[in-house]
Amino acid sequence: MSPGAGRRAPLPLVLAAGLVVAALLLPLAYLTVRVAGGGRALEILGEDTTWRLVGNTVLLAAGVVAAAVAVGVPLAWLVTRTDLPGRRLWAAAAAVPLVIPSYVAAFCLLGFFGERGLLAEALGVERLPDVHGYWGSLVALTLATYPYVFLLAQSALYELDPALEEAARGLGHSTRSVLLRVTGPALRPAAGAGALLVALYTLSDFGVVSLMRYDTLTRAIFVQYKSLFDRAPAATLALLLVSLTAVALVLEYRTRQRGRLYRSGPGARRRQPAVPLGRWTAPALAFCAAVIGLFLVLPAGVLGYWLARGVANRRELRVPWNEALGSLSASGLAAGVAVLAALPVAVLALRYPSRAARLLERLCYAGNALPGLVVALSLVFFAARYATPVYQTLALLVFAYVVRFFPQGLSGVESALERVSPRYEEAARSLGRGPLATLALVTVPLARSGVLAGAALVFLSAMKELPATLLLRPIGFETLATEIWKLTQVGAYSQAALPALALIAVSGPVLYLLSASLRPESGGSG
């Protein structure tokens, strides 16, 4: 039985959560206006091409999810539970691709594996097979998204009560059998949550599918917007994307329901014994090296090569200080606002569970698979008309980031709240503290590490955001992402390498904070 079931939620909490969710639904409201205004929705839904696009999109999302789980989960297990040599180093490196924007990843992969790319040059062959299309998109998106699965699985493995595994072993199960019957199922909720983030990212991503020329709903939406006159078709396709999000949410909810494992008691977190890899050490190392090599060393190497070519060609290279500052301030604000906004929703969903509260929480995801351009245009529509003073200010840009990345903040806050026993809150209440004071003085401090993790996820996503930034930023406001865009627009890769490397470097410390907060030594409160 959930702790708060049956209690009525305080009105201010309900209002705050309702307001947050209403704000997140603005893009949906806009799409409805556009679809209703065009009147061609049914015609578009009847076209074969539309369903081919849906098929392509589902195929890609399923493929990326499968690949991200196949890479992320074993990697997490290897670095947390085994005696793999250098596992701390592998763990640190494995999270880094999270800060590489997927369009930069795609540029780098094409630069290397392209028909006449660096690899072809190095091998001295005339041309390599074409990597554009499904497989190229799959690899680039896996690069950009597997860290979500890796980080969440890693955190879950740290949290998992070793007593469960010990008991299984005591009952005569082999190491492999324990892995399959206890550890694996226990990881399902974390893998499911990671997979959801991966699926939403893949559904909304435009950069990769456009560079890799793979036709998905998102790419079609962009093409439609470029056809300029009738915006209803684009809006119809966007609503189709929203319904795919609903499917992803239901699937994720199912994995969560099936896989929940509770700790037997509060029990102190113990250091778990490392599984000796033995003769599997070499293959395990090869696996880690392949992942890190393909997803981190290769893109970094390509960027380094372009930078070197720029220096050799004496191109004007500039350290993007201002752009870095712009990225940091907008993303930092977005991270703060997102977790603040997530608090009422998370408290309502977890402390006062009800059908309505759960629906409200799930609604937060509705707009998350929408491409940035759609979110941006919806905010243009509303802000230019009804909120002129904030239109094209930093405030609206930050708001756009929050709308786009809210679920990431929410997932952090929720996972933290889940770990804080309601008993502490009840104790504070019985000592005469009001609900707000309890939240501020007890809940939030105890949930600190999860809140930080949520903020860090939002921050890292906002750092990479491009389409909404282009349309909504204050005039003259530059971020590292817009700088990269500006330079790759005119094909100046050697000049774009510097802001791309700066983006990775600036995100680094926050990434470190994120992975640290997901490890028990520094975070969590047991």
């Binding site: 020329r213 300029l228 200010t393």
Partner: protein, 330 residues
Amino acid sequence: MRSIVGLAVLAAALAGCGGGSEALTVYSGREEELVAPLFERFTAETGIEVEVRYGDSAELAATIAEEGGSSPADVFFAQDPGSLGAVEAQLAPLPAAILERVDARFRDAGGRWVGTSGRTRVIVYNTEALREDEVPDSVFDLIDPRWKGRIGIAPTNASFQAFVTAMRLAVGDERTRRWLLDLKRLEPKTYEKNTPIVEAVAAGEVDLGLVNHYYLYLVREEQPDAPIANHFLRAGDPGALVSVAGAGVLASSDQPGEAERFVEFLLSDAGQRFYVEEAEEAEYPLVAGIPARPGLPPLAKLRGPSVDLTSFGAEHEATIELLRETGYLT
């Protein structure tokens, strides 16, 4: 602490925008790397501050459409007639003195936008793979089995779509459809935009590409030794379309006078000579008496199909439909 820093940043940003009513706001679909010096020159000459929002022409057109009457933009400076045509209803007619700086074929018949620089479609080819006399003089001659898998195009890009519109207007929908289907059978490689096509030609990924003439110069900046050259097509061929980048003043602008001065500046001798003397990308100036950069055939010699750029906005939808039917778009 963070919130204090945040508030300070927010306040600064708000203050920055508060001053916005004095500066002229330009939405530029033309790349900052290419046109930023023009804006600086304008401010130096007139003392009018300019704030520029850079973006993709079509996305900015969509933005202007969503903003409606409350658009902060005073001027829309776009990459192609199609984007300008898309927001035509939101543009104010320009004074005849500005319009008449350029030939009638380079401006809107209704006087709502005016071309500011010209470009022609060409076939860019790899000089290591082909001699110039091997490169076709007409896009219709491209339909030949020997070009199978060797052609690069950008069907989702406005410049390719404008070329298809030109072909439709010049030779009719049926012949255009046949050409598109025939081309499709040659398995052309598709790219997002012109620059990657020229890069692919330079890399030998394809041997020739249908592009605007000036992207060659951008790629040369990055790869000075790239084995690429432009081939100009036969006069009257749809593949030789001469099109423009252009500008228009928003009807909702609160400073139409300054906005017109800006368009006027773009068409002044200094604004036009910029493309000859400074710009990396060597577009054509449109004002008579200012010759193009040496090495380019003169503008007057370029003869695309005789079509009216004004209709490109209205014809765009039918072009998109045709491209979709023939499998070029999704």
